[in-house]
């Protein structure tokens, strides 16, 4: 009796499992269907609508779709963890016939390199990485320039001279971003301290809220971030302290406390490379966009940014575009006060990609 009953229940469990399997494929990939078009795919580390990093890439994808219409069929995979699953996701995309794949998180690089070796006929595009090869291009924007400008807004807003900065992983990308933020803040408020808290996650509203709370209670009266969710902003709005976001315009999460954010505009690059892949003119590259070509920029200001601050930022922005100013030009000192970049020397992009030390005025560990 008992056994038969169990056997009766089993199909239901299996049915539930089946529904789940369908749910997964439904939830994690959405495809715009057209026939006889080039297939292009994007891989995101968070949800496609995370209000941050992944959303900025998805905006780029939609831009490609809208510009090329039925000539392209775009797909995305979201919430892909930076682990062994990446390789499977890439293989799956190639099996589905995707000819160009954009991976948008640093942790995807290992799997991308391996896949690029295995599939010479597919074009691989890796954001934020360094491993370039014949069929694998690297691209990123000089986020640090825009982050420097957003740091100026934070520096102008702090009264106590302590700014909290929520950071994900201790990798060179994040370290140079934190440094640029601190340098920008110091330009407006000499001697300002930027305190870091590492969440060890790109996207975690829960951890980011706790990090924001911890920074606030440890004395920060302005918050900034290099992580992807707007959770710290919601905390800042609740507590009435100004907030600088990152990588998307997230004003609506903190309408009163929003200052600005460094944002990325990937659309034009994606369009250019997808078109090249279609026309057979695709070439590998190490593309580093900037304020001038508008791959990076600043989000609109919130109500707390004064006219004086806006003017100061506009001046610096113009100087950055003209090349008369560069935040990573010497003299630069590290946390202990040691001279790292002497006067008259500028850090190259390669130097920035290997940056593992924090500038003077940053409080926290460079090791996460």
């Amino acid at each position: 009796m008992k056994k038969r009953r169990f056997a009766l229940g089993l199909p239901f469990v299996l049915a539930a499992a089946l529904i789940l399997a369908l749910g997964v494929s439904n939830g994690s990939a959405r495809t715009q269907k057209h026939s006889a078009a080039i297939k292009a795919a994007w891989i995101y580390v968070g949800p496609h609508n995370d209000g941050g990093w992944s959303q900025s890439h998805d905006k780029g994808r939609l831009y490609v779709q809208s510009k090329l219409g039925s000539d392209v069929q775009t797909t995305f995979k979201e919430n892909v963890p930076e682990g062994p699953q990446v390789a499977q996701v890439i293989e799956g995309l190639i099996r589905d016939g995707n000819k160009i794949i954009f991976a948008t998180s640093f942790g995807f690089q290992g799997a991308m390199v391996a896949a690029a070796k295995k599939h010479p006929d597919v074009k691989f595009e890796m954001a934020t990485g360094t491993a370039q090869s014949k069929n694998m291009a690297e691209y990123f924007g000089a986020g640090e320039d825009a982050i420097y400008l957003s740091g100026m807004a934070a520096g102008a807003a702090t009264k106590k001279g302590v700014i909290g900065y929520v950071v994900p992983f201790a990798i060179p990308e994040v370290i140079r971003h934190a440094n640029a933020f601190a340098l920008g803040a110091q330009a407006m408020h000499p001697g300002v301290k930027v305190r870091l808290i590492w969440t060890n996650s790109w996207f975690s509203p829960d951890k980011e809220t706790q990090a924001a709370q911890s920074l606030h209670t440890a004395g920060s009266d302005v918050l900034g971030q290099n992580v992807d969710s707007p959770a710290a902003g919601q905390y800042a709005e609740k507590k009435g302290i100004p907030w600088v976001g990152y990588d998307s315009d997230a004003r609506k999460f903190a309408p009163k406390q929003w200052l600005t954010a460094a944002i990325y505009n990937w659309g034009p690059y994606y369009l250019r490379k997808t078109k090249a892949a279609m026309g057979g003119t695709w070439k590998t590259n190490f593309y580093y966009g900037n304020l001038k070509d508008k791959m990076v920029g600043l989000a609109p200001y919130g109500p707390k940014v004064t006219a004086k601050t806006k003017k100061a930022i506009a001046t610096k922005r113009a100087a950055l575009i003209k090349g008369t100013f560069y935040e990573f030009a010497g003299p630069l000192y590290d946390q202990k006060g040691k001279l790292r970049v002497p006067k008259g020397k500028r850090m190259s992009v390669k130097d920035l990609y290997g940056m593992t030390w924090l500038v003077k005025g940053v409080v926290g560990s460079a090791k996460g």
Partner: protein
């Protein structure tokens, strides 16, 4: 003083422990009636997404909207629990398999995520959220200010739930019957207590609690919706029930302990102490795995005070 490490950790332990507390109380009720439901994470996510949806779509006064959202979250949790109840009580399917299936079905890559996408709930803040209810003068009192008075309403409601559940199980006739059903369903049956009815009721109420626990995230702690918002809280809640030896009051202590543990690495970093964060972030889950391993052996389960019939289907004619 209120910004000192200890106060901050305790205060956030209470806040971040609250969803765990709700979910664990619910799981405790179900388990006391003999039903192990591993679907807590899925039920919490359903509560979180439906609660958030209610706040987005219902236009009324703030307290009404929030009350409705909690109600909807509870219903969603109960509806998910009903699937589990039907499978394991009526069809007597394996409770572990069914519970896991429920979490995957409703969880971070399943129904809750589908609903969130389909109803366009991502990428916006909650229109209303639970906020601190006491005036600033009370909230600024040393120590008790942030710990006791600086919390949203859902925290105080959870305290009432702990008292009610504890009294219900230990002091009422019906509570006694629940325990009988969980310990010895055959004896309860002989007493004239309907085993399936009791198990259905408590599994459903357990799901409702899990739903409210999930809504605590989307309506208060992190007032937004993203896939997998609860980040594994449901699993910790299941372990919590075991750690608390199936006692509601110990659940409260355990929930705050886990909550504080989650907050500790961030608070330490804020005070300039860096301890390998991976370690801290892993420990609650390691503890969860250990607890789940412990409870999976029947002998160990009985020693820790688990309901004797936990996980076992009941059929009247078998003895």
């Amino acid at each position: 003083m209120n910004n000192s490490l200890v106060v901050v950790v305790i205060a956030s332990g209470v806040l971040f422990g609250t969803p765990l507390l709700y979910a664990a109380l619910g799981e405790l009720l179900a388990e006391r009636s003999g039903v192990l439901n591993l679907g807590v994470e899925g039920m919490m996510l359903m509560g979180a997404v439906t609660g958030f949806w209610t706040v987005e779509r219902v236009h009324a006064a703030r307290p009404l909207v929030l009350a409705a959202a909690v109600g909807v979250a509870a219903l969603a949790g109960a509806a998910m629990a009903a699937i589990h109840a039907f499978l394991v009580i009526t069809l007597r399917a394996n409770q572990i398999v069914s519970g896991l299936a429920l979490t995957i079905f409703a969880g971070a890559a399943g129904l809750s995520s589908y609903l969130g996408n389909d109803l366009h709930l991502s990428g916006k803040p909650a229109r209303y959220q639970f906020q601190e209810i006491f005036p600033k003068s009370l909230r600024d009192l040393p120590i008790v200010g942030p710990v006791i008075f600086g919390q949203p309403l859902l925290v105080y409601a959870s305290w009432a739930c702990v008292v009610l559940v504890a009294l219900y199980l230990s002091r009422t006739r019906v509570g006694l019957n629940v325990r009988a059903v969980g310990e010895s369903p055959a004896a309860a049956d002989a007493m004239g207590v309907s085993v399936p009815r009791y198990r259905y009721a408590h599994t459903l109420v357990g799901g409702a609690f899990a739903g409210i626990g999930g809504a605590t995230f989307s309506l208060s702690i992190t007032p937004q919706w993203v896939d997998g918002l609860t980040e594994g809280a449901g699993w910790i809640a299941i372990a919590l029930v075991i750690f608390s030896f199936w006692r509601p009051t110990l659940c409260l202590v355990g929930a705050y302990f886990f909550g504080a543990f989650k907050a500790l690495p961030f608070a330490l970093q804020g005070h300039g102490v860096t301890v390998a964060p991976e370690l801290f972030q892993t420990l609650p889950y390691v503890a969860t795995i250990i607890a789940l391993v412990l409870v999976s052996s029947r002998a160990a389960r009985l020693r820790f005070g688990a309901p004797a019939a936990l996980g076992l289907p009941y059929a009247r004619e078998e003895r």
